[in-house]
């Protein structure tokens, strides 16, 4: 259903289409984010649980984020240049 239209103006087809569409803003947003990205994981954390803890949940997701950096080749104090 076109949410800005009047009920009397709606067609059955429009209603059916509306029912198949995501409803909430966050549902819509999820539909536009790539799966398994940091953005989608942050969204998952944001929408689940108390709003008062939402920032802490985002930080937890970020803390768990693995950043790929060069592997250390066995740190040593080797004196060879």
């Amino acid at each position: 259903m076109n949410q800005f239209s009047l009920p009397s103006m709606n067609t059955e087809a429009a209603r059916t289409e509306a029912e198949s569409l995501p409803r909430s803003n966050f549902d819509r947003l999820r539909g536009h984010l790539k799966a398994d990205t940091l953005a989608s994981r942050l969204l998952d954390a944001w929408v689940v649980g108390d709003a008062s803890d939402a920032l802490a949940r985002l930080r937890a997701v970020l803390d768990a984020q693995t950043i790929t950096t060069p592997e250390s080749d066995a740190p040593s104090t080797s004196s060879q240049a």
Binding site: N2, S5, L62, T69
Partner: protein, 838 residues
């Protein structure tokens, strides 16, 4: 679920409403109120806005300065005691009627907002109660109430890009997405950047011109080996630059650089004299020494003094074979006393000799322990002395000769506090060292005394106390060492920086440290890479969320566009210029929102050219677009009623019928109660007639007295309507307009006369008397009868005559009445109406 509907409204003291409290019912379907200019239409619309929101949005949208609206809500003419209130009886979704009342407490003052108090059914309430108790859901700011005024209708076209974007974000109700986006963006600030000394050192090394290239590669080294290699190259480059042939290995080069640095620094200040040896901590003597002392004391006490004196004699006696092997008493080998050496006596001698052997062993152990203790104390004292700074082990003359003076330090170290705190720490260190030496000396003297005469030494307990004192002094010395270490570190940092500046050796030390061991730098670089990686990840997430939020906005704009289109088509069906969409200017923009329209050269709207509405739409079209947008919002938000203040421009005669018919039809079909305020008399009549079958109610707004204020009247007061309608013509500078005004005033005078005669006939019992009895007749036909009825004041007859005279042109007279004449005629007629009809 039913929507909340208004049932009754009451207004007093609000803007044009004055002392006269106006109370009127409204229709459940359509209520249309007519009023001329300045009669109170906008005041009523804003009174309802004030009732629901506690403010008027016009102040936010239109005022160039907030103080322009000072004292604007309270009628300027009413006494201070008159309250300013707006009330509505509302039939709530649960079917119960409740009364919402808002009273103005403080009007706008300067830049301060107004304040008000709301009640529901006489009880104090909050804004939240509007939804909770009444089912009234307000729309997002700035246009929160379902009240459309002229100034709000044009808002989106006059607002700047930022305000327009904000408005549409509010319309789309995507604040939750904005909150999420901003929370994610805020994560970047919450990521602490590593503040490691190694990274600061690398930044310093990067400033050495000869090392800059290698240092840059150190920062980006992908492996520890690569980092070591770049450190070695940096060392090589610097050593070569200062004329030293680099040794093959990195650590050797680091040593070369350290020596070069030390030599350079020494030329400026003998920093090596700050050097200290490590202090070997004092280990409290083991329990073993205490045990040995205790054993010794016990054994010494166990051996009789007489035994110790005769020990040699006893030992010699036991070495005699006859005594050693005796099975019966024998004669004493020394004094020959017969049978003096009994078996018991021999046994006693054996026991004494054995006890003395244990005592001697304990005595040896104590001697060994005390000597070891003495050696330990000696080492402790030496260690304490050696752990003092080198400069303190020289005499002042030697220090001065080497250039180590406080005055020179003060000249080099810019922060006097650093120097003074170092001096204080040094003095504490010296005092604690002296205290330690004193404690050691006491203990060593006691040990020495013990070793000289162990057999009679009785000071084991005192020695124990001495050792405890040494432990305390050593601990205090270690603390002083630690404190001094921190102060000398600060001093050295400051001093070395100053020396390095003057000797051009800045960051050499840091490079040498990297050369000795680059592991800490590697770990620091890894931490920094982790940090930067997370920052980039957050930035990428924000970018992705921004793009996705934009797509969500696009979806919702599409929905909104369809709603606007529906209303647009009801207002202006079939036009070749039509509303197309409200959308973002581009996929990456969050700031610019455009309203796109289609321009077609064909009646079937084919091949439309899309343009920005604000650029190509006429004022009339923009007006309709604003109305369409407002109605789309009202329908979306589920408002139970809508208040429209002159929703169609007076010049839009072509589209007014569409509003009166199609738009109101759709609103009623959606269950939305309609309240229309208009100055167009024809429109007022048409809406009333068209929707009479649905119970439409027609009311009029009249403001004859600024103190009494706007009055809301039923449509039956036709004469009042005529007087109100003529007002604009009276003041016109256009002669033709005034001529028209004179005609309307003459008709009003005739209406007054007819109503007066009919009322008199009805009072006399003529139940069939009606205004239509006088159709086709004019003032001359009933002047005599009317004048006979004007008995309340002798002046009334003359007033009626002169009023008629002012508005009635003579034969061949084309000169219209003046504004003054028309005002006088209208004023006299109002006075007569009030005296005889009201």
């Amino acid at each position: 679920m039913p929507l909340p509907h208004l049932r009754k409204l009451e207004v007093q003291g609000f803007r044009s409403f004055g002392t006269g409290r106006q109370s009127f019912d409204v229709s459940d379907t359509v209520t249309v109120l007519w009023g001329g200019n300045s009669q109170g239409k906008s005041s009523l619309a804003e009174a309802l806005e004030f009732l629901f929101t506690g403010e008027i949005v016009r102040r936010e949208l239109m005022a160039s300065a907030k103080d322009e609206f000072a004292d604007s809500l309270r009628n300027a003419h009413i006494p201070a005691a008159t309250p300013v209130t707006v009330e509505a009886t509302i039939e709530c979704p649960d079917g119960v009627k409740r009364k919402l009342r808002r009273a103005l407490v403080n009007d706008f003052k300067g830049n301060s907002a107004c304040t008000s108090r709301i009640e529901i059914d006489g009880k104090p309430a909050t804004e939240a109660d509007l939804l909770k108790q009444l089912g009234l859901k307000l729309m997002p700011a700035p246009l929160r109430a379902p009240v459309l005024a002229q100034h709000t209708l044009g808002y989106i076209f006059s607002a700047g890009p930022g305000d327009r974007a904000t408005y549409f974000r509010a319309v789309l109700d995507t604040q939750d997405l904005e909150d999420f986006r901003n929370a994610v963006a805020g994560l970047e600030a919450a990521l602490p950047a590593p503040q490691l000394p190694e990274l600061q050192a690398l930044a310093a090394v990067e400033t050495i011109p000869e090392v800059a290239e290698s240092a840059k590669k150190m920062r980006t080294a992908k492996t520890k080996t690569a980092l070591d290699k770049q450190v070695a190259r940096g060392l090589e480059a610097l050593l070569t630059a200062i004329g030293i042939t680099p040794n093959p290995t990195r650590i050797e080069r680091a040593t070369q650089l350290e020596k070069a640095l030390e030599a350079k620094r020494s030329k400026t200040f003998p920093v090596e004299l700050f050097g200290r040896r490590p202090f070997v901590p004092w280990a409290t003597p083991e329990q073993k020494l205490r045990d040995v002392l205790a054993t010794f004391t016990r054994e010494r006490n166990a051996v009789e003094a007489e035994t110790q004196r005769l020990l040699a004699l006893f030992t010699a006696a036991l070495s005699i074979e006859t005594i050693k092997m005796a099975h019966a008493p024998i004669d004493c080998p020394l004094c020959a006393t017969p049978a003096a050496m009994t078996l018991e006596r021999i046994s006693h001698i054996r026991e004494q000799v054995a006890a003395n052997a244990v005592y001697k062993a304990a005595e040896r152990a104590v001697g060994d322990g005390l000597r070891a203790l003495d050696a330990g104390l000696s080492s402790l004292g030496q260690s304490g002395g050696h752990s003092l700074p080198r400069f303190s082990q020289s005499i002042p003359a030697e220090r001065r000769a080497l250039g180590f003076t406080v005055a020179k330090l003060a000249a080099l170290v810019p922060d006097a506090t650093v120097l003074s705190e170092w001096l204080l720490a040094y003095r504490r260190l010296r005092r604690s060292c002296a205290a330690l030496h004193a404690a050691i000396r006491i203990a060593r003297d006691r040990v020495k005394g013990a070793l000289n005469d162990l057999a009679n030494w009785q000071e084991a307990i005192l020695l124990d106390a001495d050792l405890a004192a040494i432990t305390a002094a050593a601990t205090a010395f270690e603390t002083a060492q630690s404190e001094y270490g921190e102060q000398v570190r600060r001093l050295s940092e400051s001093l070395n920086a100053a020396i390095d500046r003057t000797s051009s050796t800045a960051a050499w030390h840091e490079l040498a440290v990297f050369g000795r061991n680059a592991d800490p730098l590697w770990r620091g670089l890894e931490m920094q890479r982790q940090h930067l990686g997370k920052v980039k990840a957050v930035q990428a997430a924000v970018k992705e969320i921004d793009a996705a939020n934009g797509l969500v906005a696009d979806e919702k704009f599409d929905d909104l566009s369809r709603g606007i289109k529906d209303w647009w088509e009801r207002l202006r069906p079939g036009e070749p210029s039509f509303f197309e969409a409200v959308k973002r200017r581009g996929t990456k923009t969050r700031r610019n929102i455009d309203l796109k329209v289609g321009l077609s050269a064909h009646t079937d709207r084919t091949d439309p050219k899309l343009r920005d509405a604000i650029a190509v739409f006429s004022q009339s079209q923009l007006h309709c677009l604003g109305l369409s947008l407002f109605l789309a919002r009202v329908a979306e938000e589920g408002a139970g009623f809508v208040v429209l203040d002159d929703p169609v421009l007076s010049s839009d005669d072509d589209f007014r019928p569409n509003f009166e018919a199609s738009v109101i039809e759709a609103l009623l079909a959606a269950g939305i109660q309609v309240i229309v305020l208009t100055q167009d008399y024809k429109s007022w009549k048409n809406i009333g007639h068209r929707w009479d079958f649905r119970g439409a109610l027609q009311l009029q707004l009249v403001r004859n007295d600024p103190v009494i204020g706007t009055e809301v009247r039923n449509e039956n007061d036709q004469l009042a309507s005529m007087l109100a309608k003529v007002q604009p013509f009276i003041n016109s500078q256009d002669p033709e307009q005034r001529k028209q005004g004179a005609t309307q005033l003459r008709q009003a005078i005739e209406r007054f006369c007819k109503e007066l005669i009919v009322r008199d006939r009805q009072a006399a019992g003529d139940g069939l008397a009606a205004l239509t009895d006088y159709d086709g007749k004019n003032f001359g036909d009933f002047k005599t009868k009317v004048e006979a009825l004007l008995t309340k004041d002798p002046s009334h007859r003359g007033k009626l005559r002169s009023a008629h005279s002012y508005v009635t042109p003579g034969p061949h007279d084309d000169q219209p009445p003046s504004t003054g004449e028309l005002k006088q005629a209208a004023g006299d007629l109002k006075a007569l109406k009030k005296a005889y009809l009201d």
